[in-house]
Symmetry: C3
Subunit: 249 residues, 3 copies
């Protein structure tokens, strides 16, 4: 049994689980597999061969806290999910998100409004991507990593489990802070190790590497490894690990 709005369009060969909700003007492509208790909100566009697992919610409308610093009441275009994407159990994708083809979003991940994700990128289990974040193609963002608002993640980046990013050096105080909110910038091929912390506005250079547990307080040069609290340059990234040695393009 389902609740499908009369204006929703569901492509040929698509299967729906039980108790799914498909709202007005949603459009689901062909040969999709939609799990049980899935909610597809109004206007969402799903490509072909998309798998959406049980309890996922796509197209959520933002909520605005009484004293929120960044969420606005703007109207966003509907969420758009490319062909061959995999959307895990209990994933929450907000309105205004755009996922390219072959994106993998693991269970419990959240993508806030105005997030774009490039082709074949993996968003790990429980990852939070806050609003206004751009993520390139073929990245791996691993379990429970936290991508703060206003971040830019280039192509081929690797973000290990439990990484934390920040965007407010003023920790919620002083009017001055509103001029300085800035997330992390990861250049093409940058890699950040497990449980590392990035302070507001830092840039991790192309193919650079942040060691596990490091606390990064300033920019990291391209192709360098940084370690420690606070993080300091240790040495060059080994040649065998450089992006242009992987044969990926």
């Amino acid at each position: 049994m389902n609740s499908i709005h009369e204006t929703a369009i569901i492509g040929a060969g698509t299967r729906l689980g039980e108790f799914a909700v498909i709202a007005e003007n949603a459009r689901i492509g062909q040969d999709c597999v939609i799990g049980h208790h899935v909610v597809i909100h109004a206007g969402v566009q799903l490509g072909d061969r998309v798998r959406v697992d049980d309890h996922a919610v796509i197209g959520k409308l933002p909520m605005k806290a009484l004293h929120s610093a960044l969420t606005h009441d703007a109207v966003f275009p509907p969420a758009s999910i490319g062909d061959d994407c995999l959307i895990g159990t209990a994933v929450v994708i907000y309105t205004g998100c755009t996922l390219a083809r072959h994106v993998f979003v693991a269970d419990f991940a959240s993508l806030r409004e105005q997030v774009t994700v490039g082709e074949a990128t993996i968003i790990g289990r429980g990852v939070t991507v806050e609003l206004k974040v751009t993520i390139g193609k073929r990245c791996k963002i691993e379990t429970e990593a936290y991508i703060t608002a206003l971040s830019e993640i280039g192509d081929f980046c690797f973000i290990a489990p439990e990484v934390t990013m920040t965007n407010d050096n003023f920790m919620g105080r002083s009017a001055e802070r509103f001029e300085h909110f800035k997330g992390a910038t990861l250049a093409r091929g940058a890699r950040v190790g497990a449980n590392a912390t990035l302070l507001p506005g830092v840039t991790i250079g192309a193919d650079a590497q942040v060691a596990a547990g490091a606390v990064v307080t300033k920019d990291v040069p391209a192709r360098k490894i940084v370690v420690g609290v606070p993080a300091k340059v240790l040495r060059d990234v080994p040649t065998a690990q450089l992006l242009d040695q992987q044969g990926w393009e």
Copy 2:
């Protein structure tokens, strides 16, 4: 289609999503918006103009593990959610919780039994608040922070993403530990930076600040900034960031 118990009371102007479950003696105020697949357990009290998003569960009964140290079989008063609260997708609020007005609970957050939350406080995405925690008004507790049992968080506190608090110096060993369980105490206006760790029983003084990535092993004096592993006093909090400079009251 919904499952609404015949004893439940639903106020005028309140809208329900599909496949919601409203149990016996639940009382929902006026002009609320209840999402799809929401579960409101027995006896829960919701104020007026509350928004509850898809898959949220309010009024969950505790589960007791075979060797749990802190969970008891007590009976608690029903969960009570104040007027104008926003309850996100898949949030889980246990029985015995009390939320004041205008509280914002983001997606996937958990509030265990006997938690109280003050007016206009923001509980971030995926935050865990364990049992017997008191949180003041107008706090911000950010994404994936972990508030251990038996903690006290004052008014106007700021807790950054992925902060970890602890309450057991004995790490689960020795009978002696049962006399020493103690969570964190954050005095009014205290702030804790991203991915910081607080050892059991520490107090963060009024308007004090813990830097990102710090490991706090002892009490932090009021209006001081501490940094490092283990955390040491660096300098005073800048005047422009002090609570009494914000014009909030």
Copy 3:
């Protein structure tokens, strides 16, 4: 109202919530309590007196990302949940998992395929256990800890909140990495403190202890405490905290 496949078997005294889905050939024991919107996938075996809370999903089939390193298309035996287990709200347990009796899985925890869990172990709120992990009996794995793939956790281990484990020293680069994936090994009674980070392949010795916030880069000897970034031996674990002093066996 429920969706129960005609081939599913449900034991005497078992109660089902609303909008639950029980798929083909699932077998649920006697006197179980199954919450609202629960999904029990095909073939899952539940013992007697199991409690499964709202929105839990048991028996999920893996999803394979386009460039996944470890997930294969193998067929696994159905998930098996022992007698007297407690399965929390929105828990996700994959196919091929085996839980012994009296296991407690708190809200939002995930157990991937080929995970085995010993008797009376507690898996905390939001914990991720990746694929091919073995966990012993009577362990406590606390809130939001991350257990990487290919890890081995002995009996009586304690893993504090927000601990991060890793298994890839090459951070996703070089073909060489496929020969070196190795998770953490925790010997019997090992304990890891809050927000600590374990580098790939480290062994924590029997009854050893890792301090909160430590970054462990090499093996830890039995019965020693290590602290810091990188972690170094500080002293012996106090006798009163040793496993053989607890009277647990």
